[in-house]
């Protein structure tokens, strides 16, 4: 009995530790007073200021544009790659999969600086300085592995006889791929897309090293403001980021658990 109370109290304390800072942040984004320690009444002032700040709006535009573009491109390359990898022989597959895991396990900061080296090193040849496009390429790069890792399991579940049947009935390989394979792995592709989109929105470290000449995304903006100290506008911006990512990931999670329960049903 005592043990159960102790356990419960312990768990509550841990949840308090995890959530108190976030709750405070959200609450104080509506605080009229500039100081975090005093409650000066409810206000939407900081949100209003945020949306009047052209720098924030530009950062928001960059964040969304890069998230959409990088997610779309990564999904296309990644899905094609997954189909290809699925067909590969064992050893080749193992090599490619290890390459795929490399950016996933490599520390972000190393990925970031090595990409920065690439972009600066190739600038004389490509004429492309650090900025929007380098950040976009970096995001595509770290997104592709996640798309592959979401699509591959779907390909493994696929009944390959259906594809062969389509070929026997006279479909060209590409037609069969489009009409038979793609619709069946669609849930995996969508999950990969959403994951890529979310990771792109959420990324700071790699963006930080691969951008330049005044191009920033929301995370970089928050960092450069937070470095200067506490500011209620960051509270408002953080709250918006928190809510957005929460909604996105709830969708991803729901999709994944739905997929999993479908798999379980089919196994039964």
């Amino acid at each position: 009995m005592v043990g159960r109370i102790v356990k419960r109290v312990y768990l509550y304390l841990i949840f308090l530790f995890l959530y108190a800072p976030i709750v405070m942040l959200v609450v104080y984004s509506f605080n009229e007073s500039r100081s975090m320690g005093r409650w000066g009444g409810f206000t939407l002032r900081w949100y209003a200021e945020l949306f009047r700040d052209t720098e924030v709006l530009r950062a928001l535009y960059n964040t969304l544009a890069i998230a959409v573009l990088s997610a779309v491109i990564a999904t296309v390359i990644g899905t094609a790659a997954a189909i290809g990898i699925h067909e590969m022989k064992r050893i080749k597959k193992a090599i490619v999969m290890n390459l795929t895991y490399l950016p996933v396990i490599n520390p972000d900061i190393v990925t970031g600086v090595s990409l920065m080296l690439l972009f600066v090193f190739t600038k004389p040849f490509t004429g492309m300085g650090l900025g929007f496009f380098t950040m976009l390429f970096a995001h595509i790069t770290f997104n592709i592995p996640y798309v592959i890792l979401s699509v591959l399991p779907k390909l493994k579940q696929l009944d390959k006889h259906v594809y062969e049947a389509a070929l026997d009935l006279g479909a060209t390989p590409f037609y069969a791929l489009r009409k038979v394979v793609i619709p069946q792995i669609m849930p995996g592709i969508l999950t990969g897309f959403l994951l890529a989109f979310t990771l792109s929105i959420d990324d700071f470290v790699i963006s930080f090293f691969t951008t330049g000449s005044g191009v920033s995304n929301i995370a970089i903006y928050v960092y450069s403001m937070a470095r200067r100290g506490v500011n209620p506008k960051i509270n408002a911006l953080s709250t918006i980021m928190f809510v957005t990512v929460l909604i996105l990931l709830l969708i991803v999670n729901k999709r994944m658990s739905k997929d999993n329960s479908k798999v379980k049903e089919s196994v039964r």
Binding site: I22, M36, G78, A81, G84, P107, Y223, A226, R227, L246
Partner: protein
């Protein structure tokens, strides 16, 4: 069907954006540009071992280790409690543990900045209780606190997932044979959960040793960990050779620690067969 070529665009992409950059990193680490041209050198790697930089390296490792130990001590009981809950409750509680992981790293760290700072909540509470104000922000403690806060879920979740998959009948058998809870914990639960502990340690230690955001925001501008040193060399100083050399050393440290962890993991699995 011959569809392996579908992967070629991806392979080309990864060659350009993953493999070439890593080689560039190696190139900058081991070369120096002089008037006679580019030559091979170990001077940048040697410079990392100068006392001033070595201290930064050791401090980063030490803080990451402290953070890992604290996460393990706090997190293991949490995983144990979560795993012992009824099924429906378990899922909700586990989800509650995952949600903070979804919040942007910067936001999570920033939240502590405003709690610990001057006129922050903790300062106000101390004031209210007529206690002397303490400097919390911009100390070692703040940095470790920020790390633990950010990485605790990475420790809890792998242990939790191993614990939930554990065969409960073994525990029941031990209890039937007269073992008390402490014995069961020591002889069965902890040894069987070791793979989870190992991946938890890896998942906490890696990001903790490479972070530069937590140390920058909670440790202040003068606070230097290995991540900050890399950032400084690339962004402020512009010494890419030295920056690359530190990144290289950092990668080696991580590879070594992953290798050690894997070894333990394998030893454990080897033991499980018998």
């Amino acid at each position: 069907m011959k569809k392996a070529w579908y992967a070629y665009p991806y392979l080309v992409w990864m060659a350009i954006f993953i493999v070439v950059p890593l080689f560039l990193l190696l190139f900058y680490t081991f070369t120096a540009t002089t008037e006679e041209g580019i030559r091979f050198t170990l001077q940048h790697i040697k410079r990392v071992w100068e006392p001033i930089y070595l201290m930064v390296l050791l401090r980063s490792i030490l803080l990451a280790l402290i953070c890992t130990v604290v996460c393990l001590l706090i997190g293991y009981p949490v995983a144990l409690i979560l795993a012992s809950k009824e099924y429906s409750q378990k899922r909700v509680l586990a989800l509650l543990f995952v949600i903070p992981m979804w919040i942007n790293f910067l936001v999570r760290t920033y939240a502590w900045m405003s709690l610990l700072g001057k006129n922050g909540l903790i300062d106000m509470v101390m004031n209210f209780l007529h206690l002397p104000p303490v400097q919390l922000l911009y100390t070692d403690h703040a940095v470790v606190l920020g790390m633990v806060y950010n990485f605790l879920p990475f420790m809890v979740l792998p242990i939790y997932s191993v614990l939930t998959k554990m065969d409960k009948s073994i525990i029941e058998a031990a209890e039937d044979l007269g073992a008390d809870y402490i014995t069961v914990l020591k002889r069965i639960i902890i040894p069987l959960s070791l793979p989870g502990v190992i991946s938890g340690i890896t998942m906490v230690f890696m990001p903790a040793v490479t972070t530069f955001i937590i140390s920058r925001l909670l440790g202040g501008g003068q606070y230097i960990l290995i991540g900050n040193l890399i950032e400084q060399q690339f962004i402020v100083v512009g010494d890419w050779n030295f920056g690359s050399a530190i990144s290289f050393v950092l990668t080696v440290i991580i590879l070594i620690s992953m290798g050690i962890m894997r070894k333990y993991d394998r030893e454990y699995e080897g033991g499980a067969i018998w």
